[in-house]
């Protein structure tokens, strides 16, 4: 019984838990409850991943209503990987948030904070699990709306969180509107919202309405995943949101949007759709520019969180680049980087949050001599930073290696050597901005007051994430072969649902 409901349980559980969490008192209880929910969801997602890896894609008809009337949940390997990733990040950031939120959130909002956190979590899981295009929109908005709230809660420490949240709200809503307009156009042509039916009915159809729908959907999702030049909301939102929120968002929300993009590109439209190449050309160019431009800006920022936020925009460029190859290798590389980047960015943002807890600042000047005063946090930060640069024995290296290998094996508009050189140049920029922070941490003399000791509840999650960063750099074969399989399912059959059509 449990096994049959696997695709839907990790979505429903946090959604149901959120209102319960709101009723809990404003103390550690709310956070502990949310953590428990996240852990159960993680176990369920892991079981789901196992099932999908062994027996193939699983389906679930909501309320027993079969398609085309009801909403169908379908999870294939790519989905299961992303769901497990999101659940893992929630399991790590929620316990961390228990202590960290006491510093960064108005105490009377604690239970609301965790309720919102659970809703974001549920929304992100839902986007991945669902097989219904409109349902994707619904869950995207569930997660987005609660994200705006979470970002705004950073206002306790910095009022700029409010403008950041507002900017995000405006741009995010524009993105959602574009997305839903696109869906509307597709619905007008096909009369269905189920992804597989959409795929079937769109086969061979190529008119202006479909093309417009395609463009609207991709632009909307591009905004959600902060594709350059639609990334304007991201740096401020990441910088001023409370630390655990940033850690969770950076590792999940853009990644889920990437996943949704993959779904629409390959499952809904597929290679039969003549216009699909336009997206690849755009991704290639915008990805490359984004990698470069955002890294360059990161070098000149004085706020460590801002530096990492711009670095996220750059890293999204890598994923888009992988997708733009439109090969199994390329999409697999994008998925590998989705996982690796999520792990390394969480590591970094958790470390930054620990510094904020101890010293109350994100400014680079606060990081002076941190190596002596907070050795564990510094070590964690450096491991994440090395992975971001792509040093061997970290996950980031595997990502870049797989991506470059995919570039060499693809026939592209731009010579693959140019792409490789761009990746290298972008890594060098990462050396510059991470090196600047590392230099400050290790080689400058400490100034100012002594840092407050960081509680174990915050240290353990970030050490775990740092360990995972290294583990993914050593035992990469499992992840890479999983992602390859997932990419094959996505691409080879044209649609990721095991070819049930």
């Amino acid at each position: 019984m449990l096994l049959d409901d696997l695709p839907v349980l990790p979505v429903i559980l946090p959604l149901v838990a959120a209102p319960v969490c709101l009723l809990l008192p404003n103390n550690r209880l709310a956070g502990s409850f949310a953590t428990l929910v996240a852990w159960i969801a993680l176990v369920l997602s892991a079981m789901l991943l196992h099932t999908v890896a062994v027996v193939g894609p699983v389906e679930y008809a909501l309320g027993g209503w079969a398609s085309p009337l009801g909403i169908i949940y379908r999870v294939d390997l790519a989905g299961a990987i992303v769901m497990t990733l999101v659940a893992l990040m929630a399991s790590v950031t929620f316990p961390y948030a228990i202590e960290s939120a006491r510093e960064e959130i108005v105490p009377s909002q604690t239970s609301a904070f965790f309720a919102m956190f659970l809703i974001v979590f549920a929304g992100l899981m839902g986007v991945v699990a669902t097989g219904d295009a409109f349902n994707v929109f619904v869950f995207l908005e569930i997660s987005s709306l609660s994200t705006y709230t979470l970002v705004a809660m950073g206002a306790k420490r910095d009022r700029r969180a409010l403008t950041a949240a507002f900017t995000y709200l405006v741009l995010g809503t524009i993105g959602a509107t574009f997305f839903v307009i696109g869906l509307g156009l597709l619905y007008q042509v096909t009369g269905t919202l189920n992804m597989i039916d959409l795929h079937d009915r769109l086969a061979g159809v190529d008119n202006k309405v479909v093309r417009a729908g395609y463009a609207f959907i991709l632009t909307g999702l591009g905004l959600k995943l902060a594709m350059f030049p639609l990334h304007r909301w991201l740096p401020a939102a990441y910088t001023y949101a409370p630390s655990p929120v940033t850690a969770f968002l950076a590792s999940t929300s853009t990644k889920v949007a990437i996943y949704a993009m993959l779904r629409f590109l390959f499952t809904v439209f597929g290679f039969n759709f003549g216009f699909i190449d336009v997206a690849f050309t755009f991704f290639l160019i915008l990805g490359l520019i984004g990698m470069f431009y955002a890294s360059l800006i990161a070098i000149f920022r004085e706020d460590v969180k801002m530096i990492l936020a711009y670095s996220s925009v750059a890293q999204i460029g890598y994923m888009l680049l992988g997708i733009s190859f439109a090969t199994v290798d390329g999409v697999a590389a994008a998925l590998v980087h989705v996982v690796n980047h999520a792990v390394m960015k969480t590591t970094l943002f958790l470390a930054v949050g620990a510094v904020f807890y101890a010293l109350g600042s994100h400014r680079l000047s606060a990081y002076r001599g941190l190596g002596k005063r907070m050795p564990v946090t510094t070590a964690v930060f450096l491991i994440g930073g090395l992975s971001l640069i792509g040093v061997p024995l970290t996950g980031g290296f595997i990502s870049k290696w797989v991506l470059v290998a995919a570039a060499f094996n693809s026939v592209l508009a731009v010579p693959s050597l140019v792409i490789v050189l761009m990746i290298v140049a972008s890594s060098l920029l990462a050396v510059a901005y991470i090196g600047r922070i590392a230099w400050t941490m290790l080689l400058e003399e400490p100034v100012g007051r002594q840092p407050k000791p960081v509680p174990m509840m915050m240290v353990v999650p970030m050490v775990l994430m740092a360990a995972l960063t290294i583990y993914l750099g050593i035992d990469a074969a499992t992840l890479v072969s999983l992602c390859r399989q997932a990419a094959e399912t996505l691409l080879s059959t044209g649609l990721g649902f095991g070819g049930t059509s």
Binding site: W401, A405, F408, A425, G435, L443, V480
Partner: protein, 496 residues
Amino acid sequence: MAGLFQLLPLETAVVVSMAAPLVAFFVVALLDRSPNLREAASITAGLVTFYCAVTIFIGVGDGARPEIDIVEMLPGLSLKLAVEPLGALFGLIASGLWVVNTCYSIGYMRGHHEGGQTRFYMAFCVAISAALGIAYAGNLLTFFLFYEALTLSTFPLVTHERDEAARAGGRVYLGILMGTSIGLLLPAVVWVYGLTGTTDFALGGILGQVSANMPLVFSIIVCLFAWGTAKAALMPFHPWLPNAMVAPTPVSAFLHAVAVVKAGVFGVLKISIYTLGAVELSQSAAADIITYVAAASILIASAIAMTQDNLKARLAYSTVSQLSYVTLGAMIASRYGILGGGAQIAAHALGKMTLFMCAGAIAVAHHKKYISEMRGLGRVMPYTFTAYIIGACSIIGLPPFAGTWPKFLLMLGSIETGDAILVGVLILSSLMNIVYLLTPAVRAFMDPVPGNQAAEIKEAPAFCLFPPWFTAIGCLVLFFYMGDIIRYLEPLVEGL
């Protein structure tokens, strides 16, 4: 005697040789409060490592090729060690001179009242382990990893003084070494993998197909490797080396005359033979370009060395010049070119280390760094300056010192390839060496002691005096045993 070095299986010896310094790293950290025990730990680790390196050296000489797979991250992408003669030789030199240098460090660091000595010895431990990793690396990726580890672990040593000058020097050091390795070396590694599907070292190279079908790609890869291995200080990526001279002298003596720079030229030589392929290289246009860049480096660096008044800076530029000999040999890629390059790695290590240790001894005993201050000092420190002259003669290439042979072999190699200009460059360089290396010593002995005081002998402490003499005698001994080393390296040039 030989039985003493057959106790360990070779694979175990490889692991122990790299693990011993890392164990010492922690022991040194724990013994922060008792300096004598701390230094004893360093020396013990050095001896263990050296013992293992000798074991490996002998084993490899007998034809064994120990291999260890550390971890396979992806199919075709793994970390592994595989020892061959050139690596065994480099490992032997690095670990042997580490022991000598540790003894010298004790005298220097205490005589000079340096702070942060525990950190100093800890960083040294990591550096030597990384250097051995480079020596024994079995593929390009492993080589790259340890290459970066060596850069990072030597950085605290370069900035040891922690003042503004040290920081500025450190910035250049890290900037150039990391920039070139990530910007040039790593793309080359990835490209080789993209073309061949492997990064393993194999005698004769793995790019034969590429060289035949895509000469331009091959040329670019050659250039990426030659400049990307910036520890070899090929111009214009040499400024890190003079900038590294802000470090305490033992660091300059060991790392910037032996471990780091030799890791660079060792890398160039090894990649030339085991990745690019000597035959392919000798036919490549890019190799000609790099040969002339190396020749230019030799002369320009020598010319700059003449203008330096700071003794360590002069030695640093001399090192830039001498390293290009190896690059030159690798790029000629003939039988004598490669053997000459290998011999130069050994001979230059001993000679230049002697010179640096003498410079350090002068600084410890008399706090003098500038050559203009050293007039007449030879009468006060006759033993130090005699060792200096031996080292200098070896670098110049005068018999009966070790430095004679590499120059001889490289000249043979140049003649073999019919390049008369290179012979001229080598001869001119030796003449320049005489001017800038011997003048300070001659002035120290011939000029009167400043202030016309009676010369009273005041040498550096014994720990600073014996190590340079040890390496100076090594220069003499190696002159007679160079034939053995060349025979040892013979498998590298089979069929050339």
